[in-house]
Symmetry: none
Subunit: 406 residues, 2 copies
């Protein structure tokens, strides 16, 4: 009998146009942790039963990633930008523009944007509820905000439940302004201040304070009677991943900010089902259409923010089940599993500790790591990389890189 | 009895002017590979019997090198520049100037240069043979090319067999122009196009197209009746290694491009014998005169380009024999063995996978690696470095570095 099996990789060499290696990148948000006393000085990932991630590690190449750089505390937004190959030090000035993009606003260079919360304040401008009772339908409120006017500036506002994004469009605006959001309840709404001495920052601060007054007037008497602004940033035109890498890509995510980042670099957005296994089958279906899928799984990060190591272990085990669906796919394509940053249950927020990363697929130089975890992966053949190294490494495996030189 | 033996290293501390540590850098072109099914999921270097490289690894310090950066696919030219300590992102715009230098043309800042092939075309400008039957003697053809004229531009051409380099010298030239070489047979000679909107690029493209017409006229009726141009780059004045590091150096290589790079940084060029062992004795002889010898061994790369893993194993074993000649030398001096990039037999071209590196010599912090290979070296004490880290590390061992600070 003749063995007619030809690997996809082999076909990709002969017919590169028809048989491109595909890649699935599973970013387990905030999954990295520190050793926890309560877990016997282990991390949730070390304690969790993760046979599928472990198999990928055993068949793959493993390492440690500093999302931004050694010791630097990454946000999910800056780390996703870095992982997608966009230097956050160059393209990121605040989360506002990415939140706005995630809510479907088309930004233009020169725009500035804020992340917003509908909130409840009392008669002294003191915030009594930062989320206005997690109000669900804000369609009418958004309409009101969009009727407001400012001199020489266009106002574009969108919301989804109590969350929203505000874009200011006009000449001479600066993102160098502070937040009106006091970040804690029982504090007064802050006056927005310029963060440098430019006349643009001073004018923008004035305009935003005027906007806040108009919001207070327009929403007076309602439960959601204020809009708190934070994370101002300047819109930047980013090259799409198709222009940059010659690949098509989609992003599956639950949070607006991750969707916004993916949209900003020209990726299709698909919603994540609540059921992890359904997410996985949807991901595989999407990968029939596109070369590259980024799948952000948010829940481990939330357990970290909630200081809940047991919950984090549970979630990691569920994520592992979902990853089991990809084992087959990883035989002929690339599956990367990593975290975007560390969210230790002890600290309850992101830290600058690095994260484990595994890339599994044809022809990788396997190593002796057979368990996926923060410490096991540090013995792997990928060594230590930073977030912006990830895409060049992945594209190299996919045979999608340009040669530099001859 | 008194032990009168004093090591060269000890003498170098006391009499640094007379007893300088020397260094031999053996760059095995394209030797890195990926695990290959046919070789039992091992790389050619893992399969090959390499007792001498293994001894250097056992007595040396080992690591992994990204020639340019993680995942970046290096050319041999850009990687050699990086290994010699010249950032290719700053000094490399195309291979042309280095090819020209390799053929003995003295370049000046402002010059642009192309790599050229003598070719055969038919009456419709379709290339029927990209190498004009690998024509050997092109002295007369080169003379004809050098009689051609262009307005305001000096033409300097040199060739060796069917290969050559063309330098254009004059004001306001730009390297941002495309190739006339269609890169494949049975295709028409391309019109050279400007690659940006500058008037310099437009004028250069015009001039080069005029040159191509003149070549066609001048070589009409000959077998080699066209000159195909590619890899245009701008000449850059590079500091010599003597100015930069205070060392004298030679380069043993077979290809014009590597010789050209070495010449561009002020190194002497010595030819490589066909016999590997003769190369080694020639190298040791040269090291009596100079501090530093770069020895490029081309053949493993060719086996990679030819998709021939068995051949690659054979070549690596021959290279190992040649390296055996240096074991003695490495007791009192430094011998580094590395690849300039990975050329997987599966892919048949350079990829961005990193390469193993070993530095053996006095006082290095030895590690537990006792086998030289892609995966064994990733457990070494040198960790992960990039190409431009290599010279500072080597010069430091040689006690040839300046202190930064007090």
């Amino acid at each position: 009998m003749i063995n007619l099996y030809v690997s996809r990789k082999a076909l990709s060499y002969t017919f590169p146009i028809f048989f491109c290696m595909k890649a699935l990148v599973v970013i387990c948000d905030g999954m990295g942790d520190r050793p926890i006393e309560e877990l016997g000085k282990k991390t949730p990932l070390e304690v969790a039963r993760t046979p599928n991630m472990d198999e990928l590690a055993a068949r793959g190449i493993n390492g440690t990633m500093h999302p931004i750089g050694p010791g630097i505390r990454a946000g999910s937004d800056t780390s996703h930008l870095a992982i997608l190959g966009y230097d956050p030090f160059k393209v990121y000035t605040g989360r506002g523009p990415f939140e706005a993009a995630g809510l479907g606003i088309e930004l233009k260079p020169g725009d500035i944007a804020f992340r917003c919360n509908f909130a409840t304040i009392d008669e002294n401008m003191v915030v009594t509820d930062r989320r206005a009772g997690r109000i669900k339908d804000t369609t009418e409120l958004a309409k009101i905000i969009n009727t407001l006017t400012l001199p020489g500036v266009e106002i574009i506002f969108k919301s989804l439940s109590y969350r929203g994004a505000l874009v200011l469009r006009g000449r001479g605006l600066s993102y160098k302004v502070s937040d009106s959001d006091p970040h804690y309840p029982n504090k007064k709404v802050e006056k927005v201040k310029p963060l440098d001495n430019s006349k643009e920052a001073k004018r923008t601060a004035q305009l935003v304070n005027e906007f806040t007054e108009k919001v207070q007037e327009a929403l007076s008497g309602k439960k959601a009677n204020m809009l708190l602004l934070r994370g101002c940033g300047a819109a930047v035109k980013l090259q799409s991943i198709t222009e940059k890498y010659g690949i098509s890509g989609s992003c599956m995510a639950t949070t607006a900010i991750i969707k916004g980042i993916a949209k900003s670099v020209g990726m299709n957005i698909i919603n994540a089902d609540l059921n992890y296994l359904k997410r996985s089958s949807r991901a595989l279906k999407e990968l029939e259409k596109v070369d590259f899928l980024l799948m952000n799984i948010k829940e481990a990060d939330e357990a970290g923010h909630d200081h809940n190591p047991r919950k984090k272990v549970e979630i990691i085990e569920k994520i592992d089940e979902a990853i089991g669906v990809f084992l087959d796919f990883s035989q002929e394509n690339y599956v990367a599993v990593l975290a975007d940053h560390t969210t230790p249950c002890s600290f309850g927020d992101h830290t600058g500790d690095p994260v484990p990363i595994t890339i599994c697929g044809p022809e990788v130089r396997t190593d002796e790591v057979d368990k996926f975890s923060e410490r096991a992966n540090s013995k792997g053949g990928l060594g230590w990389i930073v977030g912006t190294n990830f895409m060049p490494i992945l594209l190299n495996f996919m045979n999608k890189s340009e040669k530099f030189g001859a």
